[in-house]
């Protein structure tokens, strides 16, 4: 008598009802152990992990990681809150910095990390600091929560797009729709240049411009509290 997933559940509920199986399991059996290795989502797994992982000395926990968890536990803000319009002077300064800033383009679905491939969209990002200065931001860069991200896009053709923010453990948040024109331009809506305030953000934040044709470009930054 070997284990199967159905018999395993029955056994866990009433092990005393399976004396032959107990006798069998007292000796190594590769077939039964295969079933035990494959049977997921039982309390059995959690209990085994808790006991086995408690043997080793503990590593250090990180405060930034907990801040990310706290941020994710907070209710999401309405989409309009972090989007602000910056003035013309800001837009001009933005152009100076973004002309040399790196871009990142992808075509995979939002929420799935993938290999970068050529796409008709490009997005350059800069952090605007409280003193009014700007700094180009690349993928993986650390950015202060007091900063505001501003954007410039490259499009081959005119198309509709959406600006999306992605945070680990949360569904992507659509910040708003924009109409892109061919060429390199500041990302703007009817009210002015669009920007994303990082106030209240902690940890990894991805910002993506997603075209109606499925192309996308964006950057992921790490926000320091």
């Amino acid at each position: 008598m070997h284990l199967d997933p159905h018999r395993l559940r029955a056994f866990l509920a009433r092990p005393e009802a399976f004396p032959e199986l107990v006798q069998h399991l007292a000796q190594p059996c590769s077939q039964c152990e295969e079933v035990l290795a494959q049977a997921p989502l039982l309390a059995l797994d959690g209990v085994v992990d808790a006991a086995a992982l408690s043997l080793a000395p503990r590593g250090a926990a990180d405060e930034v990681g907990f801040a990310r968890v706290q941020a994710a536990l907070r209710p999401p803000r309405p989409w309009s809150t972090p989007l602000v319009a910056v003035g013309l002077a800001g837009a001009l300064a933005l152009g100076l910095f973004l002309s040399r800033a790196p871009t990142r383009t992808e075509t995979s679905e939002v929420g799935v990390k993938g290999t970068a491939v050529a796409a008709p969209l490009g997005l350059a990002v800069a952090a605007r600091h409280p003193d009014g200065s700007y700094r180009p931001v690349g993928d993986g860069d650390r950015v202060a929560a007091s900063s505001t991200l501003v954007f410039q896009y490259d499009a081959v053709v005119a198309l509709d797009a959406e600006l999306v923010v992605e945070r680990p453990g949360r569904a992507p948040e659509r910040l708003g729709a924009v109409r892109l024109e061919a060429g390199r331009h500041d990302l703007r809506s009817a009210s002015g240049v669009l920007a994303l305030s990082l106030d209240g953000e902690v940890g990894s934040v991805g910002v993506w411009l997603v075209g109606a044709d499925g192309s996308r470009a964006g950057v992921r930054v790490n926000v320091d509290p």
Partner: protein, 189 residues
């Protein structure tokens, strides 16, 4: 689980932010270690899945019937999130079924009995009783010494990371088999 951790879980359930922080501080290393042994995650992916795990657990803390079950419950969530993430990455047609947290303790009706039967000392005995060989060496490095990542263990032993993952899974299956026998023997007496 220690009384101190038990009290911390109770306080976290009551919404105390410091208790959540303390649970995170104590349990994150376990979650990270579990994920490291599960598959080929990058450090960034481990951070992401660990964060998802804690967010999901803290949001569902009220559904946990017994504070004493917190650690195995949390690690079950971590394992499920990790396997789901690997499954999605592999392009599987269907992600793993979502774990129904509210029913964790009813999944086999024996969480408490299982915990009574298995502690660190028992696992240590089982490791000591393994025949000398690659599996014992792998398990010793990962679970007992706990300093090297699964990838580093693979490099040291001159095997692929998947071989390390398989050896760890095989060992876990051995522990489960032993646990089932102990559970049955206790019920009989």
């Amino acid at each position: 689980m220690s009384d101190e951790l038990h009290r911390t879980v109770a306080a976290a359930r009551g919404g105390e932010p410091d208790a959540l922080r303390e649970l995170y501080r104590r349990c994150r290393p376990l979650v990270v270690r579990l994920l490291d042994g599960l598959g080929s995650f990058t450090p960034d992916e481990v951070d992401d899945v660990a964060q998802e795990t804690f967010v999901r657990a803290f949001k569902s803390l009220s559904s946990l019937r017994s504070d004493a079950h917190f650690v195995p419950w949390l690690l079950t969530i971590a394992r499920n999130r990790g396997l789901s993430s690997l499954s999605k990455r592999a392009g599987a047609r269907r992600a793993l079924e979502e774990l129904r947290l509210e029913s964790w303790e009813q999944l086999d009706g024996s969480a408490e009995a299982l915990q009574l039967e298995l502690d660190a000392a028992t696992v240590r005995e089982l490791i000591a009783g393994l025949p000398a060989g690659p599996e014992k060496e792998t398990v010793q490095l990962f679970y007992v010494e706990g300093q090297l990542s699964a990838r580093q263990i693979a490099e040291r032993l001159g095997v692929g990371k998947s071989a390390v993952t398989m050896r760890l899974e095989r060992f876990r299956a051995r522990i489960k088999r032993e646990l089932l026998v102990r559970l049955a023997q206790r019920r009989r007496h």
